[in-house]
Symmetry: C2
Subunit: 333 residues, 2 copies
Amino acid sequence: MSTRDIILTGDRPTGPLHIGHYVGSLANRVVLQNTCTQFVMIADVQALTDNYEHPEKVHDNVFEVACDYLAVGIDPTKTTIFIQSMIPALAELTMYYMNLVTVARVQRNPTVKTEIKQKAFGEGIPVGFMVYPISQAADITAFKANLVPVGEDQLPMIEQTNEIVRTFNRLYQTDTLVEAKALVPKCARLSGIDGQAKMSKSLGNAIYLKDSVDELAKKIQKMYTDPGHLKVQDPGKIEGNTVFEYLDVFGVDVQKVTELKEQYQRGGLGDMVVKKYLLEQLEILIAPMRARRQEYAKDRAQVMKMLHEGTTLANQVAQQTLYDVKKAMHLLY
Amino acid sequence: MSTRDIILTGDRPTGPLHIGHYVGSLANRVVLQNTCTQFVMIADVQALTDNYEHPEKVHDNVFEVACDYLAVGIDPTKTTIFIQSMIPALAELTMYYMNLVTVARVQRNPTVKTEIKQKAFGEGIPVGFMVYPISQAADITAFKANLVPVGEDQLPMIEQTNEIVRTFNRLYQTDTLVEAKALVPKCARLSGIDGQAKMSKSLGNAIYLKDSVDELAKKIQKMYTDPGHLKVQDPGKIEGNTVFEYLDVFGVDVQKVTELKEQYQRGGLGDMVVKKYLLEQLEILIAPMRARRQEYAKDRAQVMKMLHEGTTLANQVAQQTLYDVKKAMHLLY
């Protein structure tokens, strides 16, 4: 028996991944894969709960996200990358767990409540969307994950999962399901280039890992700085200045960033100069990723083969859990 | 291409089947299997939605129900009998369909509303129970069933299924899912032996197909007749008299039943005599079933083999539908 931690994490394939994803989760995965048993799920089924009208978008982004993973250094020999819809056990576990949660309980889930407000479903809330915390519990428990990297806003999801785990184990007199701990990343959420609190595809304020140098330069050019800093010689603010927020995160030379901040606050440093420096710093990170990504994107067959191999392995693990679950429920025939 | 009708039907394995099941559905299945492609599902997953605290009961009754099927003459060479929990595609289809139905819509389902009132869930309504009409849509559509035998009270389930079919086909520009028609049996519901409107295990008023002659005799002895018919020479009522209701259904000799009714209404015919006659008539039906059932029940391995074979075939059909569904949704990788 290994005592390594088991991690389940992943992304909804609704668009290519951006540097906010990198800072918030991808970079951690590259580190964690060396010490943990890591499963990374491309959550196409979950993505459909609020994209059911555009499944082709979800389909296409499975490949994009896989390329992003490989580009940032998630290594398929260390991390099991798989496609959610190809793991039937996840749907089956969801069916059994749905009996252990009341309608009132899912409707109380704070994350779901917030998301429902944000999404403004036209014709009413789809059952699939309301049920997705239960589906997430299936994802987590299927791999017996004890660590789940999530943002603060997703903590209620882990609570819901652990409630299901406890109810299941108590009701069916077993210890087959494992409670999970949230692994909240130290790095706060990265703002969008418009200075909005959240970088996201839907807000159109994201820098993608696949952006070309030109796209990157254009986006940095548009970045929100200090709106009061009109002339080079004026003193500028660094609080709320997205360019400096990014430099704090991506600047390789901390000393240099500190000097730039001081000069900017004193006056005499133009936005153009700082932005040019940010572009250089971001390019140190992104250029090699972009190059790797282009190589992978050229060989679709190879990327899909990697996904199929990961999915085969993930299926073995999830099928074993489903077997244990059915056994505890006396559902083997 | 066959133009045979395709039927999906089945039972929740929560107890052995009774003569109410026989009259309302089993007898029809024995006939329909000769002209239709018939799938009979032992709905253990659905049974769990309101029996999740007693999965062992559900497990044990899968075998009981299978024996009942074989005993009444459902022929596994003509009918595909299968276990719901062993068909992963049903859970997977449910996941996709859940996105096409709003929470408000399932909460409006009249059948579910009525059943929720009857069942009085202690800690609130389980999500699985609220969702089961969607799961039923998965069952029906997985087999492309165009005919579904249901009681009047289950008509909203077929409506819900057809709504999902239409939404799916429209949204994903396909004709892969098939609308179903309800096949409402001519025979009304059989009353319980206590004269209650519904024969059911939970009301303790059922005559089981597996009852011994002694059990049958005892139950008929207790049957509700005309409470005002105290002496043999008194005139008796046949309206609401369960013994005569059963004789109308199970009496082989219609002429003789008519004579008995007339004599009972005139006076001079005791309940004991009519009940003895009913026992004889029921035994004509049940004795051979009981004998066959005992043979099957002795050979558990053989019955389970039949179920596994049916399940294998059902899986092939359901997997094909799942493939078609995923193809329409661009979810093949």
